[in-house]
C-alpha cells in the first residue's frame, strides 16, 4: 500500500450475443466455464485486483448484453470507461463484422477525449472449436489483425474461454494498456481559489 500506486479501471466488454463475453469474464475472474448459454440481461459486474508493474489495479469489469432486446441499460454507462474489450467469435463472420459498430457506438457515446488513442482490445474467442464439427473457423488471425491495424493499431488477442487460452493475457493487456494511457491527465485537481464576498468595505481595505 505504501509505495504502490492504486488505481481503478473500468473495463467494458462489448460484442454480439453468444460470442462468449460472459464466459471470458467468468473464466478470468472465477476460473469457471459453463457450456450452458444464458443471455446477459442489462449488465453484470465483477471485480478483480491485479498488479501491473508497480500499480495495484482494481478492474471493474462490465459484461454487457449482446442481445439488443436485453440492452435495457442504454449506453450511458459507457461513461468513464478506461478500456473496452471488443469480442467476436472466430467462427462467426457476422460477429466480426459487428466489431465496427460496437467500436463506433462506444466512441460516440463515451466520447473519450482522444478517441484515436482510446484503449480498445479486440478479442477473437472460441479458437478451441474444432473444424468440421458444428462450425468452423471463418475469421483468420491475419484477417483480424489487418482490420485492427486499419483502425489505428488496436491490440488483438485470440482466446478460448472454454480452454482458458490467452484469457488472462488479454485482460492483463487491457489493464496495462489502460494504465499506460491513464496518466496523461492532471494529477490532482484541487482549486486553491478562495472566493469570499467580503462586502464593499473590505474591498477598499476600509478601517473598521
Amino acid at each position: 500500500m505504501s509505495t504502490k500506486k492504486r488505481t481503478l479501471l473500468k473495463v467494458i466488454i462489448l460484442g454480439d450475443s453468444g460470442v462468449g463475453k460472459t464466459s471470458l469474464m467468468s473464466q478470468y475472474v472465477n476460473n469457471k466455464f459453463s457450456k450452458q448459454y444464458k443471455a446477459t440481461i442489462g449488465a453484470d459486474f465483477m471485480t478483480k485486483e491485479i498488479t501491473v508493474d508497480d500499480t495495484v489495479v482494481t478492474l471493474q469489469i462490465w459484461d454487457t448484453a449482446g442481445q439488443e432486446r436485453f440492452q435495457s441499460l442504454g449506453v450511458s454507462f459507457y461513461r468513464g470507461a478506461d478500456c473496452v474489450m471488443c469480442v467476436y467469435d472466430v467462427n462467426s463472420a457476422k460477429s466480426f463484422e459487428s466489431l465496427e459498430n460496437w467500436r463506433n457506438e462506444f466512441l460516440v457515446q463515451a466520447s473519450p477525449s482522444d478517441p484515436d488513442k482510446f484503449p480498445i482490445v479486440v478479442v477473437g474467442n472460441k479458437i478451441d472449436v474444432e473444424e468440421g464439427k458444428e462450425s468452423k473457423r471463418v475469421i483468420s488471425e491475419k484477417k483480424a489483425k489487418s482490420w485492427c491495424t486499419s483502425k489505428g493499431g488496436l491490440m488483438h488477442f485470440e482466446c478460448s474461454a472454454k480452454e482458458d487460452i490467452n484469457v488472462t493475457a488479454a485482460f492483463e493487456a487491457v489493464a496495462r494498456f489502460a494504465v499506460e494511457s491513464e496518466d496523461t491527465e492532471p494529477d490532482v485537481f484541487l482549486p486553491d481559489v478562495v472566493q469570499i464576498d467580503a462586502g464593499p468595505k473590505a474591498q477598499s481595505g476600509g478601517c473598521c
Binding site: D44, P112, L190, I196
Partner: protein, 499 residues
C-alpha cells in the same frame, strides 16, 4: 451479482441483499457510498473494497437504467425491508442503505450532508472541473489530497448522521448561557476577529459536542448569518481536526505547552461551493483554578464532558480568505483567551459548554408534578426553531443515553420529522392560503421502548421522547408546559440573530 436469470434491476437487488447480511453482522450501521457518475467509488463508509467497486457498478447500472427508461433521476429502491436511497449531482451519485426501516426520503436527506462534506473537502469546482474534463478521473485521488477528508467523512458517518440531532432537524445546536455572558463572548470574538486579515467569521463552540457558543461576522459582511448547513460542515471539520490532533498527541506525548491547533482548507458549500477558505481551529482555556469548579459541578455523568479534558476549554474557529493568516489567527486566539480570562467569563462559558440542558433543569413549577407523579416519563426533547436555524436538544435520560438508544431515538425523530414536514408540504401545495400560524399539528407514536410526541407549530417544532408508560394526556400536558417555558427561555437558549 452472479445470478443472471432476471433483469438488471434484480441483479442489483441481489447484491444489496448480500449487503444486508453484512450489515446484520457488523451492527446497525447505515452504509454510505459516494461514486462518480461513471460508477467509480470515491468513498465508502466501510472503506473502498472490491465489493464496493462492484456495488458502485451496480448503482451506476441502476441509474443508467432509470435514465434509459426515461424515469429521470434514480431516487431509491426498496429491497426486502432494506431501503436504498440515491441522490445524484451532475458529477456524483451518493447512496445510503439501511436495514433500519428508514425511508428513502430520510436516507436521501442524509445524503445531502454526505454531499456537503464531500464538497467541503474538495469543492464542487474540483469535482465538476476534474470529472468534466475527464470522466475517468479517480475522485479518490482528490480526496487523498484534501485536508482531513477521510476523518471528516468518517466522523459524519459514524457519529453525526447517526446520533446528532442537527442532521435530523437541519438546524444547529447551541450552548445555553445567560444573555450577558453570551454577549461578552460575542463582543470579544468580534474584536479578536479584527486581528485577522480577510476575516470571514469567528465561531466559539463546545469541544465535546460542537454546540455553538457564538458566531460572529465582521461588520459590513454579507450575508450576515451563516446557514445551518455550513455551520454543520464547519463543526464537522472542527471535530475531525481535534480528533486527529488528539491522536497525534497520543503518539508524540506532547506537553501542555503547545496548543492543539490547525490551519486548513475548508469549503462552505452553501456559501460558495466552488472555493476554499482557510479555517484556523484551536481552543481557549480558562486560566482559573479548575479543581474546585469541577468538584462543585454535579455533572459527573455528563456524556459531553470528555474524560481527557481536565481543564475548562472552549473551541474556537476563525475563517479567513487569507492563506497567510495563521500567525494572525494565533494572535486572535491569544487575545480572545486573555480577554475572556480577565474575569471568569471563560470559565462560565466553558462550564456551560460542558453542560447540556436536562429535563431536571426545567423548573419544578413547569413539569414538576408530572415528572414526579408519573415516574419521570420524559426522557428527551428537542425544541427546534427553523427561522433561527437553531435547536436545543436536551441530554438523554440515563436509561437511554447509550449510543444505541440515542441512535434509535434519533432515527425515530428523523422519521417523525419527515412525516411532519411532508404534511407541511401538502399544506403548502394546496391552494389554501398559508395556514394561520397558530395551526399546530400533533402526532403521538407509541413504540416498543419509548413513545415520541411531535408537535409542529407555526414557527417552532418540539419532539419529545417518553417512557412507554406515559399516557397521551400526560405527554401532551408536559409538551404544552415545556413549550411555554422554552419560548420564554429562548434568549438564553439561542444565539441572537445577528441581522
Amino acid at each position: 451479482m452472479r445470478s443472471r436469470d432476471d433483469d438488471a434491476a434484480v441483479d442489483v437487488d441481489a447484491d444489496v441483499g448480500a449487503d444486508a447480511a453484512v450489515d446484520g453482522a457488523d451492527g446497525r450501521n447505515a452504509r454510505f457510498l459516494a461514486l462518480t457518475r461513471a460508477g467509480k467509488p470515491a468513498w465508502d463508509s466501510r472503506g473502498v473494497s472490491s465489493e464496493s467497486v462492484t456495488l458502485c457498478a451496480a448503482v451506476q447500472a441502476l441509474a443508467a437504467n432509470a435514465e434509459a427508461q426515461g424515469g429521470g433521476e434514480l431516487e431509491g429502491v426498496d429491497y426486502a425491508g432494506r431501503a436504498l436511497g440515491c441522490a445524484s449531482t451532475s458529477t456524483m451519485i451518493y447512496v445510503a442503505s439501511s436495514a433500519e426501516g428508514e425511508s428513502v426520503g430520510v436516507l436521501r436527506k442524509k445524503l445531502k450532508y454526505v454531499e456537503d462534506v464531500m464538497t467541503s473537502c474538495v469543492t464542487n469546482a474540483a469535482l465538476v472541473g476534474a470529472l468534466g474534463k475527464n470522466s475517468r478521473f479517480d475522485v479518490r485521488r482528490a480526496m487523498a489530497a484534501a485536508t482531513l477528508a477521510d476523518e471528516r467523512l468518517h466522523e459524519l458517518a459514524t457519529r453525526g448522521l447517526r446520533r446528532d440531532t442537527a442532521y435530523v432537524f437541519d438546524t444547529y445546536r447551541t450552548v445555553g448561557m445567560s444573555h450577558e455572558v453570551r454577549r461578552s463572548a460575542t463582543r470579544a470574538m468580534g474584536d479578536a476577529l479584527r486581528l485577522v486579515t480577510k476575516p470571514f467569521a469567528g465561531v466559539a463552540f463546545g469541544i465535546g459536542d460542537s454546540r455553538l457558543v457564538t458566531y460572529v461576522k465582521p461588520r459590513g459582511h454579507r450575508p450576515q448569518t451563516i446557514s445551518a448547513r455550513d455551520v454543520m460542515v464547519l463543526m464537522n471539520y472542527a471535530r475531525a481536526t481535534s480528533r486527529s490532533a488528539e491522536s497525534k498527541k497520543e503518539g508524540e506525548d506532547e506537553g501542555d505547552a503547545t496548543h492543539a491547533e490547525s490551519f486548513g482548507r475548508v469549503c462552505l458549500p452553501e456559501f460558495n461551493p466552488d472555493g476554499f477558505m482557510h479555517a484556523y481551529v484551536s481552543y481557549i482555556e480558562a486560566k482559573s483554578g479548575d479543581t474546585e469548579a469541577r468538584e462543585g459541578d454535579e455533572e459527573k455523568n455528563d456524556a459531553v464532558a470528555s474524560s481527557s479534558t481536565s481543564r475548562e476549554r472552549v473551541g474556537v474557529c476563525f475563517l479567513t480568505a487569507s492563506a497567510e493568516a495563521l500567525e494572525e489567527c494565533r494572535a486572535a486566539r491569544d487575545a480572545l483567551e486573555k480577554r475572556l480570562n480577565a474575569d471568569d467569563t471563560l470559565t462560565t462559558i466553558a462550564r456551560a459548554a460542558r453542560r447540556q440542558l436536562r429535563v431536571s433543569d426545567v423548573p419544578e413549577d413547569v413539569l414538576g408534578r408530572y415528572q414526579v407523579e408519573h415516574d419521570e416519563p420524559l426522557l428527551h426533547f428537542v425544541y427546534n426553531r427553523p427561522a433561527r436555524q437553531q435547536h436545543v436538544s436536551s441530554a438523554f435520560a440515563s436509561s437511554v443515553s447509550d449510543d444505541r438508544s440515542v441512535e434509535t431515538i434519533t432515527r425515530a425523530y428523523a422519521m417523525m420529522y419527515e412525516n411532519m414536514t411532508e404534511l407541511d408540504g401538502t399544506v403548502d401545495a394546496t391552494t389554501k392560503p398559508p395556514m394561520e400560524h397558530s395551526a399546530q399539528r400533533v402526532r403521538y407514536e407509541r413504540r416498543k421502548r419509548d413513545s415520541v410526541l411531535a408537535c409542529v407549530g407555526g414557527d417552532f417544532e418540539i419532539y419529545l421522547t417518553f417512557k412507554p408508560s406515559a399516557t397521551v394526556t400526560v405527554a401532551v400536558a408536559m409538551c404544552n408546559r415545556l413549550c411555554v417555558w422554552l419560548r420564554v427561555s429562548e434568549p438564553e437558549l439561542f444565539l441572537e440573530n445577528l441581522v
